[in-house]
Amino acid sequence: MPNGLLDDVPNPLPVEVAENIFWLGQCTNSKYRGRSIHTGQATFLVAGTDHSAVIEASAHTDLPVVQDQLEQLLAERGLPDVRYVFVTHQEVPHAGGIGHLLAKYPDAEGIGGVQDLHLIFPQFAHRLRFSELGDEYPLGGTSLRVVEPVFRDLAFTRWAFETRQRTLFPGDGFAFGHEHDPAHCGHFVEDVSGLDLPIMIQRYCQSAFNWVEYADVEPFTQRLGQLIFDELDAAMLLPTHGLPIRDPRGIFPYLEEGLKRGSSTVTEALLR
């Protein structure tokens, strides 16, 4: 398995986070106040009995690692070929590799939030289909359902929900970094000790989601709770820019606090 070596920490990915659901990619190293913080643009592979789907096409800088991981998993585990490449939205950290993936998997369609991509990859325009809420893509034994993107930057973002194991792929939702540490990288957030999740979420908001400065986030956290617990009964959350979450109810209060901090702290800075 290729090793996306970063700062001498071996790449722990891919990790099978649930049966036939794999977390791919590698950490991205960045500095925050002198400390090495990892974030990332996660890609996921969901395999049904008939088809596989790639969720998020990675920043294309990570693509060589992701492509090797995909090839090896599909071959070693005998998984069905990729039929769908789902992107939450057309920003490069989420869709950067979609052209390469559609070239590699000629029977695959690009789905999800694919606005503008027909102008960037015109050779694949006929294979790009914008998804509406409720659209469902059968994989055999499970399916991907397109659901409401409660937390987003671009308006026509889309989230995916894998129906059999009730796994939500919320894109930019629940974005946070982690320490550059073998005990953090490649782990579920619940298994990481010493991670100050509200602070990490706050930092991510400050650096990447500046609209939060101008919004009351409470309606968003309320709606997130309704979607995740009341409507989907999601058992796992797999964000693009955070560690996997297998206890959504246990983690949710920290996520709420992080968003509120992200909003109020920056507003306080603006008012000074």
Partner: protein, 300 residues
């Protein structure tokens, strides 16, 4: 296709505009808008050097290279992608393969140019990569980017007065031009006709409703009911007081040429932000938005 070159300022700044169809599939205009708009690449020139800002869309590769070919021969070229979005990346490689691209100007945290600018799969098989000879010129917000090596012409990197995704605004004192990326993009046309620029004397029917619609239609949905919107308005006011701006050059939509046109559209933006702030927030309902029902069957 409506392609045009406009000399913004005396052989020093050019707008290379290439049109695209607004049909509900594009994120730059509301999904129920129809018509055409230009996507703009800007060339900042000094004798012997040129800075190319943006790369346009893949569909524009051929006309863009032709346009660049009328302006650039042996000049030493720097590519300056202003954001990490496809339209700042996708023609970087064709440009570097054709012209003498010596550097790529970008913020910290990017790998070498060929590592992040080769987004198109059709380049993977080619061995020679013009981007391999490009060095990295790292900048931070507030820096001045030299266009000529003597440093007599510099571009100021500004924090955007209004932004969603990470990007920069650029001020060129020589031409009194402000490059504003995804703001001031609202001038489109029903037909695919040139010239694309909006100049003094042109009929300008832009109303505040157009501005609010384009802002809310995708990236700036959060301006509805925004708290502390005055912070944005004050930031805009201070910027236009500090820098004399005679041209506003957005990444898409008609470039706005002339102080009178600039003043009108700055006023429109200020008023639009004020009006939007009075609205009820729409952040939750945005999550349920669908593409326009008028979109043609094949478009989806």
């Amino acid at each position: 296709m409506g392609n045009a070159i406009h000399e913004v300022h005396r052989d020093k700044v050019y707008a290379l505009s290439n049109s695209y169809r607004i049909d509900g599939r594009v994120g730059s205009y509301p999904t129920d808008t129809r018509g055409y708009a230009p996507w703009n690449v800007y060339v900042i020139r000094e004798p012997g050097t040129a800075v190319i800002i943006g790369t346009g869309m893949t569909i524009h590769e051929t006309p863009l290279l032709e346009q660049l070919g009328t302006l650039i021969n042996d000049e030493r070229v720097a590519l300056f992608p202003l954001s990490y979005e496809f339209t700042n990346l996708c023609n970087a490689r064709p440009i570097a393969d054709r012209f003498r691209v010596e550097s790529v100007i970008h913020p910290e945290g990017r790998p070498e140019p060929s590592g992040w600018l080769n987004v198109r799969p059709e380049f993977a098989a080619r061995r020679e990569d013009g981007l391999d000879r490009a060095t990295q010129r790292i900048y931070r917000t507030g820096d001045e980017i030299w266009v000529d090596e003597a440093g007599s012409r510099r571009l100021k990197v500004l924090f955007p007065a209004l932004r969603l995704l990470a990007t920069q605004w650029i001020y060129d004192k020589e031409s009194k031009s402000l490059l504003t990326q995804d703001v001031f993009t609202w001038v489109s046309r029903p037909a695919d006709t040139t010239p694309w620029v909006l100049q003094p004397g042109d009929q300008d029917e832009t109303a505040i409703e157009t501005v609010t619609s384009v802002l809310l239609g995708n990236r700036y949905w959060w301006l509805a009911g925004a708290r502390n919107a005055d912070v944005i308005r004050n930031r805009l006011k201070r910027l236009f007081e500090e820098y004399e701006v005679c041209n506003i050059l957005p990444q898409n939509g008609s470039p706005l040429i002339g102080a009178e046109v600039v003043q009108r559209h700055v006023q429109l933006l200020d008023e639009a932000i004020g009006e939007l702030a009075k609205m009820k927030p729409i952040g939750i309902e945005v999550g349920e938005w669908k593409l326009s029902p008028e979109q043609e069957e094949g478009d989806r």
